[in-house]
Amino acid sequence: MPLTLFEKVWNQHAVRRLPTGQTQLYIGLHLIHEVTSPQAFDMLRARGWTVRAPHRTFATVDHIVPTSSFIRPFADNLAEQMTSALERNCREFKIPLFDVESGRQGIVHVIGPELGLTRPGMTIACGDSHTSTHGAFGALAFGIGTSQVRDVLASQCLAMTPLKVRRIEVSGNLAPGVYAKDVILTIVRRLGIEGGVGYAYEYAGDTIGRMSMDERMTICNMSVEGGARVGYVNPDDTTVAYLQGRPFAPAGPAFETAAAHWRALASDQNARYDDVVRLSAAEVPPTVTWGTNPGQSVGVHERLPESADGDSLAFMGLQSNQPIAGTKIDVAFIGSCTNGRLSDLREAARVLKGRRVATGVRALVVPGSQAVRAAAESEGLDDVFRSAGFDWRGAGCSMCLAMNPDKLSGREVCASSSNRNFKGRQGSPTGRTLLMSPAMVAAAAVEGAVVDVRELLGAHQ
């Protein structure tokens, strides 16, 4: 019987049917960080349990790390306390920790793939909703809460209900200046932020097939913004090529064996889907959010909807039917697990080369990992950012959710390459977020307002 990748991977990891009717699913890789794990370790100790598979568990520190100084103890006492707790827990249970001294620290969804920990056919869990990112490799990756982190630590398993699968086929060529970020914002806009509840999203079609792993990660990352806990792309040559030579990927003949297995996991030709949706890449514009959830977006040349939600408009200080282009910004943020990878920084730097950030705009770029930062520096991207007036920072989640010192203040408007524009998301209860691609953020930083990045790219040709 033809099967989807979801079914193949699920079946391979299913242990048994639980009395509740759920499936006990084995988790092949557990990634942990400082925010959602300390309570889980305490629960474990309280019950006298231990970590079942420390060799399948990896830790890093990302959410609360400052990005301008890594000197310990951190100035923020609570951040220091959380980091120390993670270090203590990793020592006690023999879990490898990629800390700020390791050279491998970074956002958990950036380092998993770049270290080759994330591989096709795995089940992956992490106490973070953007775990869906890892699906770019053809893994089933679940964002979970802290009690479930405890379950995975204790049993290496989760109690799960199988998801339906919606195939989203994207075909045709993206226009220059249009990116993976615009594709996923358009998908979330079309299908709604609740449209994916109960589904895994399988992204397919020739547009996705031509995308790099970085781009596929951007797409899968924001599945959860569409309500889908899981998003994935079938493994192919691009996936295999990315993994070759990564520190934790198999090496030598074992790599070829693994690669053959990975390719065979792709959904079968005649697999049955619960739903199929098609999107033409040519119709995807550079996209910007105007509201307080990621589904509230428009193309950069569109006006806000006539029927735009009043509460969102009031919070944003915008009006229905007004153009989004020209909206003034105060802050520009490039980074996050959505768009903090090397190719994202390259695209932003391409826009910024020879230009300056507009007067009055505060701009920062936060690489997704120490490895991304080092690679960018070896290409001289840091010079481009600095010359343009951007702060060049250390790796972490930073202003995506502002658990570190990088925050908006008051009603500042931020052009952000991150994933959520919820009220208060970037650290100020009244701060406002406009989500867009990293290149669009760079363009907005230069212009001091939302602008079509193609106007700046065109000027260079």
Partner: protein
């Protein structure tokens, strides 16, 4: 290992209208800077409550009639966004013991279940009727009957949807599933040993 069986929850209710209330709003990220869940109830809806207070209004959680309420009534896609368990923890510690809504985000639903906090769904018109009933008579009790899949208030009884596994977990006392996952562990080892990685 089994927890208490949760068959029915009853008590006064708080009405919190509006779609897509995300977990950043339920508990803003700055309150996640802690290594315990203790005290989170003090910060539930912190920013929304302050904003309304500054506008001279009262957030539903700040109204005198909400004190001691144990049932939360919401609209659609409640708990979307971040997977932070701090959100259901904050609600639970504030005193909420059941949430009735049009629909819930996946991760929020499963996090709430792990705490023994039932999330049950009513159709949109029924939620509207329930909200009206509670608004008109805030001191009367609402019953969330998990076992019988229904919600009752002074003015009516409405059919509720509770996914089969959640209903079973709550009514059997298996909602904290760790015990089940550790039973028959030889089967887990068997699956692990057959994985190609």
């Amino acid at each position: 290992m089994r927890e208490a069986r949760i068959l029915r929850v009853s008590g006064r209710a708080v009405v919190l209208p509006g779609p897509d209330i995300d977990t950043d709003r339920i508990i803003p990220a700055r309150f996640l800077k802690t290594v315990t869940f203790e005290g989170l109830e003090q910060h539930v809806f912190a920013d929304d409550r302050r904003a309304l207070g500054e506008a001279g209004q009262r957030h539903p959680f700040d109204r005198p009639e909400s004190a001691g309420a144990s049932i939360l009534i919401v609209n659609q896609n409640f708990g979307c966004g971040s997977s932070r368990e701090h959100a259901p923890q904050a609600l639970y510690r504030w005193g909420i013991r059941a949430v009735v809504g049009e629909s819930f985000a996946d991760i929020f639903f499963s996090n709430a279940l792990m705490l023994g906090l039932p999330c049950v769904s009513l159709s949109a018109p029924h939620i509207e009727a329930l909200m009206t009933a509670v608004t008109q008579s805030p001191s009367s009790s609402v019953l969330v009957d998990v076992e019988q899949s229904r919600v009752a208030a002074a003015t009516g009884v409405w059919p509720a949807v509770i996914p089969a596994h959640a209903k079973d977990a709550l009514t059997s006392g298996h909602w904290d599933g760790a015990g089940l996952l550790l039973a028959r562990y030889e089967e887990v080892d068997d699956v692990a040993s057959r994985l190609p990685y």
